[in-house]
């Protein structure tokens, strides 16, 4: 297991708060070139999304690249007549290319790099050894690279969104989810404060043309089987309904700190019980392969209440798979050397879709089909905060 560095109690100067910079976009090889120098469909993600907006430097340790909003994980049916569907599953991530530039236009590679060619680290849930089911444990997790110091009476809030429904018959069975925050210390050396399992609400199937992924820029239209709603709000228009919030009173009641002045938070985990959902979807939709984890279909927000910087750990709306680099359905790259983004500095990210495919229908002329793909990119790490107030906690 990757362990966070224990907090050095004689270090009065800094504490470390988790951060993730992220964006979601849809690449489409049918779109005209942005410039003559770039390949068809090349999409530059908004620079503002990857800019350090705070007054503290952010140290980046991991990059996550995740398909977003898919019903199915892969294709097992090899049918040339269905080539139009080829890029309509999570597993087409391997046909993507990416370009990343760090501050001062320092490009990570001279050419747009194959996504999978970045070194990856093991992060996967286990496959369940059952046909078409999404995973064995349904767990997503982030073990922080540095422990986060949480004062007594402060609390952490990790909230999950509604599930967006699909045009096809979404089973809409209960999908309970729960969140746990791992802390270090105490008689048993550790403790977990958790938000008890509660079913995620479903968002209605209301298609809104041109609506954006929450806090994103590009409409997400989902995979071949169904249109993923661009809006992921419940009938009351709530993306984060009250039933899924985590009250600070509940957090504090669990007394992880046991009366200490502060506790070391080592990470958090999110469990999504997809068993009934997978079983129901398997019966209702004749899909092509394994059902995708819901972690890439719901969005999150995270922050500290009553302590810390008061900033969001990431902009609201990040897909869960992009902010859990320790265990996630995303592709995760761990940087050999963490790098820092100063206040106002940013990263440029460009995405190149798979090339169009030529399909030969029976008894007809070949046709060219454009490729399109929903993908999210995040950079995870922590803000280094100079703490002038820590003495107050002691």
């Amino acid at each position: 297991m990757f362990r966070p560095t224990p907090f050095q109690r004689d270090d009065d100067r800094f504490y470390y708060e988790p951060r993730a910079l992220w964006s979601v976009g849809r690449v489409n090889s049918a779109l005209p070139d942005q410039t003559a120098a770039k390949p068809a469909g090349f999409l530059t993600l908004p620079k503002e999304d990857f800019k350090n907006p705070s007054r503290y430097p952010i140290r980046i340790t991991h990059a996550c690249i995740s398909p977003v909003g898919y019903l199915f994980a892969n294709w097992v049916a090899q049918n040339p007549n269905k080539a139009a569907q080829y890029d309509q599953a999570m597993s087409s991530l391997g046909r993507m290319r990416i370009a990343i530039a760090f501050p001062k236009r320092s490009w990570i590679e001279r050419v747009n790099t194959d996504v999978m060619s970045f070194g990856t680290v093991p992060t996967a849930d286990l496959e369940p050894a059952l046909d078409r089911r999404s995973g064995l444990f349904g767990i997503s997790r982030w073990t922080f690279p540095e422990s986060y110091l949480l004062p007594r009476k402060a609390s952490i809030e990790i909230i999950l969104s509604t599930i967006s429904t699909y045009r096809t018959d979404d089973p809409q069975v209960d999908v309970p989810a729960c969140v746990i925050v791992h802390e270090r210390g105490g008689r048993m050396l550790g403790h977990g404060r958790w938000r008890r399992p509660a079913p995620l609400e479903y968002a209605p199937n209301v298609a809104v043309a041109g609506a954006a992924w929450p806090a994103g820029q590009t409409p997400i239209v989902g995979d071949f089987f169904a249109n993923l709603n661009n809006l992921v709000a419940n009938p009351q228009g709530q993306v984060f309904p009250p039933s899924q919030k985590w009250p600070s009173s509940d957090y504090n009641r669990q007394l992880g700190s046991r009366g200490l002045d502060y506790t070391e938070v080592q990470g958090f985990g999110v469990h999504i019980d997809q068993i009934d959902y997978d079983d129901a979807l398997d019966k209702s939709v004749n899909g092509p392969g394994d059902i995708a984890p819901i972690a890439q279909r719901i969005i999150t927000k995270g922050r500290t209440r009553d302590a810390g910087t008061g900033e969001q750990w990431w902009r609201d709306g990040a897909p869960l798979s992009l902010v859990t680099p320790t265990m996630t359905p995303a592709f995760v790259h761990k940087f050999a050397q963490p790098f820092e983004l100063g206040p106002g500095e940013g990263i440029e990210v460009g995405l190149q879709p798979p090339p169009p495919r030529t399909v030969q229908p029976p008894d007809a002329d070949p046709i060219i089909i454009a490729s399109s793909y929903n993908v999210g990119v995040s950079f995870c790490g922590y803000a280094v905060v100079q703490d002038d107030c820590k003495k107050v906690y002691r």
Binding site: G138, C178, G192, W194, Q254, D273, T326, M327
Partner: protein, 320 residues
């Protein structure tokens, strides 16, 4: 001193080093099955007093918690995903871990153990935190049984491989001790042993045994079926014969003959179980149990979940 490898001088030199000093570490697994298949079963269930307790005269360091659903061979109750619907808490000295409420088992899973899809279905692999020493002419006694017997109607036999990995304590050369047992329908769920000859250290130097791998091959005779095996079908127990404590590495309730532990729970490095690495304190991972120390494991299923789940605590005994 330069020894001539072509004479007995080297053999004698190495044999003299069969006795070593220092701290001896041996793996330990404490496991209990919490069976909720009876709908009238009391919920939650607490572990037997003697299971999760150090019954030996040396300290034990517990480093991991593991859990997996029991494979009954019956479609209705064998689904491994239902480990998601059990909550667990550990109680010691009226302190609870991780919470005084029952946290779901996947929330404990903090170690990535997924091997390739076709591998993890049939293999459990565990690289020990500390190697255990095996003197020359020592052996391992391996007992094993099936969770459910080989079906005479559809299967012919199932071969189970158990392998110990290590290096020579002096030569530093890799060594591997491999044995197997073929289960046939007549074996049923009876306990069988792999002949100790497979695991005898016939060399001239002690071995540092660094890990164990269990592999269950698919049943012969299943034409057209998935040729990957099912690691969840086997349970086993190990004891070192010769040096060491000579105690079984596993502890289970007395109602479990042979102290057998499901092979899936041996997969701390790669396997198919929930693996929770305990937090560390001052660079020492996990909890230290002095003799007769221990804790109580309590398990609570979601309503209407009629499955049986194994929960185990894993570590190593430290013998000076």
């Amino acid at each position: 001193m330069v020894l001539d490898p072509n004479t007995n001088e080297l053999v004698t030199f190495l044999a003299q080093r069969n006795v070593m000093d220092g701290i001896l570490y041996e793996p330990r697994l404490y496991t209990q099955l919490f069976d909720f298949t009876d709908p009238d079963q009391v919920r939650p269930l607490a572990s037997d007093d003697a299971v999760f307790r150090n019954g030996e005269q040396y300290p034990v360091r517990i480093t991991h918690l593991v859990a997996a659903i029991r494979d009954t061979g019956v479609v209705q109750t064998r689904d491994p995903r239902f480990v998601q619907r059990f909550g667990v808490r550990l109680r010691a000295h009226d302190t609870y871990y991780m919470n005084d409420e029952f946290c779901l088992l996947p929330l404990f899973h903090n170690t990535v153990t997924s091997a390739a899809e076709v591998v993890s279905r049939s293999v459990s692999s565990w690289t020990f935190a500390h190697p255990t020493y095996m003197g020359a002419r020592d052996g391992f006694e391996v007992k094993l049984a099936l969770e459910y017997g080989v079906s005479a109607q559809f299967e012919e036999s199932i071969r189970v491989w158990v392998t110990f990995h290590g290096v020579g304590a002096i030569s530093r050369r890799p060594k591997q001790l491999t044995g197997y047992k073929d289960f046939v329908p007549a074996d049923g769920t009876a306990i069988r042993a792999i002949p100790i000859e497979f695991y005898r250290n016939d060399g001239t130097e002690p071995l540092e045994v660094t890990g164990i791998t269990v592999h269950v091959q698919a049943a012969d005779g299943l034409v057209g079926a998935d040729p990957s095996g099912n690691i969840r079908r086997v349970k086993l127990s190990v004891r070192q014969s010769g040096n060491g404590t000579n105690q079984r590495w596993t502890a289970t309730p007395t109602s479990e003959p042979g102290n057998l532990v499901p092979a899936s729970l041996w997969g701390l490095t790669t396997g198919r179980c929930v693996v929770h690495e305990l937090p560390e304190n001052d660079n020492y991972p996990g909890w230290l149990w002095y003799p007769n120390e221990g804790l109580t494991v309590e398990v609570m299923p979601n309503p209407n979940v009629d499955r049986a789940v194994y929960v185990g605590l894993v570590g190593h005994i430290c013998v000076k």
